[in-house]
């Protein structure tokens, strides 16, 4: 893929093995005696049975100069320089920043440089293109509680959508979630937007798992239509609470075993995930439109001792921006979707701006294979609506809605989401102001590897599905 020879250094980003104590899932519970040694907290079983095999592709030391930089954390540099080497951002500064010898220099005059765009809510891979039933793997809609399923086991790494998200959207990291038919939809997975033969090959090294939950219309409609609980919003919360009560009990048994030894409790795949939430290892991503329902979920999380990381599709988040801030809960939203269902009836385009103005953690998301190609444009619309409403929000602050804020919600803000020295070199060079409709990504680097270049048809990925089909390799 790469012709240039330079200081090519592959990242040694091995997936951290979270817990591999002496005891695994095959531990013979029947033979364990009451004086078996305690495995230690979090070490009772393997928490990472499908480890990431992602490896960064090689890159060359690169300097982008004379560009406008949004650093993703609210900073802006005019006529700036970004240095990438060994897969990392090594320096960010002004025109006076020294460029080491042997560095490829790209003139960014009239162009913008940002961290790679992060989509906290995608179904690429689990609802891929083509959308045939045989590939419809996003909702295990056979019961309202399917905390046992893991989205990564549905992700089809040949989804053509990954390439469009890269080339048109500058997407470098994305979270793939189960759908919202269920109250407990299952585990999400965070991916690097780099094609691989296996999903493990795309897994973002060291990213925590998420748990998808859902409020509102979808679970009650899906199960109510089957004549079973939940068929109402009160049914939703009742089943949620009953399930958390079981999870608390499961955790109590495992905590006791891991601390004191003895007979290992019986494993339960779904409860493993919920215990992970209660232990703070797994982050809750809760589909929830309405303000009053978000408030109910926040109280429920306190009842059982977990934290909601982010409400997704939080169409009414603006109504409780202060409550979300006070509870440290993020809101992931569309720019201007409204009115497509009852719980989206009160959507307004000022949602993001009102959240930001209140100091709440806010971000854009797509939930859409088309929308993921234009999250920069979606933020531009939300920003403009906010300014018209009188809020003074800078472009560089708005860029946090596609960068450091989703990185925080995914628990990877120490690794990516901004242009800071030492972070992964996930970078987009835009051919103009990325808040203009007339702008597109010109180049995209992931971990320092140039994986899209608008001027090089060979750097336009084509998934297996599209190979040999009409339109193969076309600009998309």
């Amino acid at each position: 893929m790469f012709n240039k020879i330079g200081a090519v250094v592959a990242l040694s980003v091995l997936a951290p093995v979270l817990a591999l104590g002496g005891c695994t899932q095959s531990a013979p519970a029947k033979t364990a005696s009451s004086d078996a040694p305690a495995p230690g907290k979090g070490k009772g079983f393997n928490h990472d049975p499908f480890p990431s095999t992602y490896r960064a592709y090689p890159g060359v030391p690169t300097a982008i100069v004379h560009a406008t930089i949004y650093d993703g954390e609210g900073g802006r540099i005019e006529n700036g320089t970004v240095l990438l080497a060994d897969g990392k951002v090594t320096a960010v500064g002004g025109a006076d920043l020294a460029i080491p010898g042997g560095t490829a220099v790209i003139d960014g005059a009239g162009k913008w440089v940002t961290p790679g765009v992060i989509d906290v809510h995608s179904h690429l891979g689990d609802y891929p293109s083509p959308g045939v039933k045989a590939l419809s793997d996003g909702n295990e809609a056979t019961g309202p509680v399917t905390a046992d399923v893991w989205a990564e086991h549905s992700v089809w790494p040949q989804d053509p959508g990954f390439s469009r998200a890269l080339a048109n959207g500058g997407i470098t990291t994305l979270q793939i979630l189960p759908g919202s038919a269920n109250l407990f939809g299952g585990r999400s997975i965070t991916l690097k937007n780099v094609y691989a033969r296996t999903t493990q090959g795309m897994k973002f090294p060291g990213a925590p798992y998420g748990l998808k939950m859902a409020c509102g219309e979808n679970p009650k409609r899906v199960y109510g239509s089957k004549g079973r609980e939940p068929s109402t919003r009160m049914g939703n919360i009742a089943v949620d609470r009953q399930t958390w009560m079981k999870a608390v009990e499961y955790k109590r048994k495992w905590d006791k075993y891991e601390e004191k030894g003895g007979e290992a409790p019986t494993r339960d795949v779904g409860m493993d995930t919920l215990m992970g939430v209660l232990n703070g290892e797994i982050l809750v991503h809760n589909h929830c439109y309405r303000a009053d329902e978000m408030a109910n979920v926040i109280d429920m999380s306190k009842e059982f001792g977990y934290h909601v990381t982010a409400f997704h599709h939080a169409v009414e988040a603006y109504k409780i921006a202060d409550l979300l801030k006070a509870n440290g809960v993020c809101a992931a939203v569309w720019a201007d979707w409204y009115g497509f269902k009852m719980e989206s009836y009160d959507g307004i385009p000022e949602n993001l701006a009102i959240l930001a103005n209140a100091g709440a953690c806010a971000m854009i998301h797509s939930d859409d294979a088309n929308g993921i190609q234009r999250l920069n444009q979606e933020v531009a619309k939300a920003l403009a609506a906010g300014r018209r409403a009188g809020f003074n929000i800078s472009d560089e602050l708005a860029w946090t809605w596609l960068a450091i804020n989703p990185a925080k919600a995914l628990g990877i803000a120490d690794k990516t989401g901004s242009l800071k020295p030492g972070k992964m070199a996930d970078v987009v060079l835009w051919n103009g102001n990325p808040f203009s409709v007339y702008t597109r990504p010109e180049r995209v680097w992931i971990d320092g590897a140039l994986l899209y270049d608008a001027n090089n048809p060979k750097l336009r990925p084509v998934s297996d599905f599209e190979l040999g089909q009409p339109g193969e390799g076309d600009v998309k």
């Binding site: 921006a321 409403a389 007339y438 998309k476």
Partner: protein, 427 residues
């Protein structure tokens, strides 16, 4: 209260017998030409009297100073369910689909149009002034007769009832015609034969797919007095549509979707069939969309086809106003090597005059050329740019209210905290 007074004030200023001059703006005519700086638009009696540069302001005209602003025709959405759906997830409000009706082609959306749904006011406030309301296929792949409506704040929305017939003839046709494209083609030809001779149509019974009423409704289609909008995406389906002209020479075909049309653009152009294309879909979301590319609209236009752009390919929702964003994206493509985009004027035309032209109404709506209905939007910037928004909207020369449920909710929650009284008292 203030809002209500504003509406009353605006609605009392009827445009009829009034002359309005909008001066100083960058004027985009909407016919494919490039924008004109320091242009003038004259509205008289609800119609465009003149637009362009160097036009004298008539004596007695009410003048609107639009220095620094842009003026364009209102956006025309070629595919919409505004007026017949309040939200597709709210089945109770959905008058688009009629799955259980014995009728199909006979269905006529015009008597059901509701001009007071929140989508109409919201989309109007974002610059959309006319839409083609299209029912969804139900009993057969004939969806029925669509209407052209305006989004004005009045109770008289229908511009042209029974403006066209709409039929599905691709993957979406199968479910409505017996399970396959082949079944759909049999039914299509049987229906058109019945249109020529309604005695062939079945009496109303559960076995009669085409009722006498449906056959009568298709009469204007084969006589060429009502356009037939055919939704087809893949090359093979588009070719089958074009072949209809050989059998029914008078038929006025309009392709809708046509995502793979770019691959046979020459044939579409030769058949002189206009296209209301999908916008910028570029994913093989179906097997009939394998060669989808954002360059489709540009490539069709380049081939000389009258090509409009609709949002038929995008997420369901009342988002006709997103058409300006998609048109802007067509301009963005001009800077991508290998892609085919459109220049600014041509891009605007795909969402103004081109959809009107596709159904033969470009003499009436879709541009600021003299004689057209005065659907005029004054924008605070380039209409295709993401940051721009209308500051005034005229429909048939009538200034429209710029408030909606959305603006009311915004004003109530700019500061979300409750004050001396609950939010329910803040308005």
């Amino acid at each position: 209260m203030k809002a209500a007074l504003l509406i009353a004030a605006l609605l009392s200023t009827s445009a009829f017998a009034e002359t309005i001059a909008i001066t100083g703006a960058t004027v985009a005519i909407g016919d494919g030409s490039q924008p004109i700086t320091n242009g003038i638009v004259i509205i008289r009696d609800g119609r465009i009297a003149a637009a362009g540069a160097g036009i004298a302001v008539p004596a007695g005209a009410r003048t609107i100073d639009a220095q620094g602003k842009w003026v364009s025709p209102g956006i025309v959405a070629g595919v919409s369910t505004l007026g017949i759906v309040d939200g597709y997830g709210m089945g109770e409000t959905n008058d688009a689909s009629s799955d259980k009706s014995p009728f199909s082609a006979a269905i006529d959306v015009s008597p059901a149009i509701n001009s007071e749904g929140q989508g109409i006011a919201t989309e109007r406030g974002r610059g959309v002034t006319r839409v083609f309301v299209i029912p969804a296929a139900g009993n057969t792949m004939f969806a029925g007769q669509g209407a052209v409506i305006d989004l004005g704040a009045d109770l008289d929305p229908v511009t042209r009832p029974r403006a066209f017939q709409y039929v599905e003839l691709g993957e979406d046709s199968a479910d409505h015609a017996g399970g396959s494209r082949t079944a759909a083609h049999v039914l299509l030809h049987a229906a058109l034969a019945a249109a020529a001779n309604p005695a062939l149509a079945g009496e109303l019974s559960k076995d009669a797919l085409i009722t006498r009423q449906d056959a009568l409704a298709l009469g204007p289609v084969i006589r060429g007095t009502m356009p037939l909008l055919v939704h087809a995406e893949r090359v093979a389906d588009i070719k089958a549509v074009l072949a209809l002209k050989a059998q029914y020479p008078k038929i006025k075909l309009v392709l809708v979707g046509a995502t793979e049309g770019w691959r046979i653009a020459g044939q579409i152009a030769a058949a002189n069939v206009p296209v209301i294309a999908a916008s910028i879909t570029d994913l093989p979301e179906k097997f009939e969309l394998l060669s989808a590319t954002q360059s489709n609209v540009g490539r069709l236009t380049k081939a000389g086809i009258v090509t409009a752009m609709s949002n038929i390919d995008m997420s369901e929702g009342p988002y006709e106003s997103h058409l300006t964003q998609y048109a802007g994206n067509l301009v963005a493509l001009t800077r991508i090597p290998g892609a085919t985009g459109l220049d600014w004027g041509a891009a605007l035309a795909t969402i103004t005059s081109k959809p009107a032209a596709a159904i033969g109404m470009d003499g009436e709506i879709g541009s600021l050329r003299a004689g057209r209905r005065a659907d005029v939007v004054i924008w605070d910037g380039d209409p295709l740019e993401l940051a721009s928004n209308p500051v005034a909207v005229f429909i048939d020369g009538v200034a429209q209210p710029m408030i909606s449920r959305q603006t009311r909710l915004r004003d109530r929650y700019l500061d979300p905290r409750e004050k001396a009284l609950p939010k329910a008292y803040e308005r």
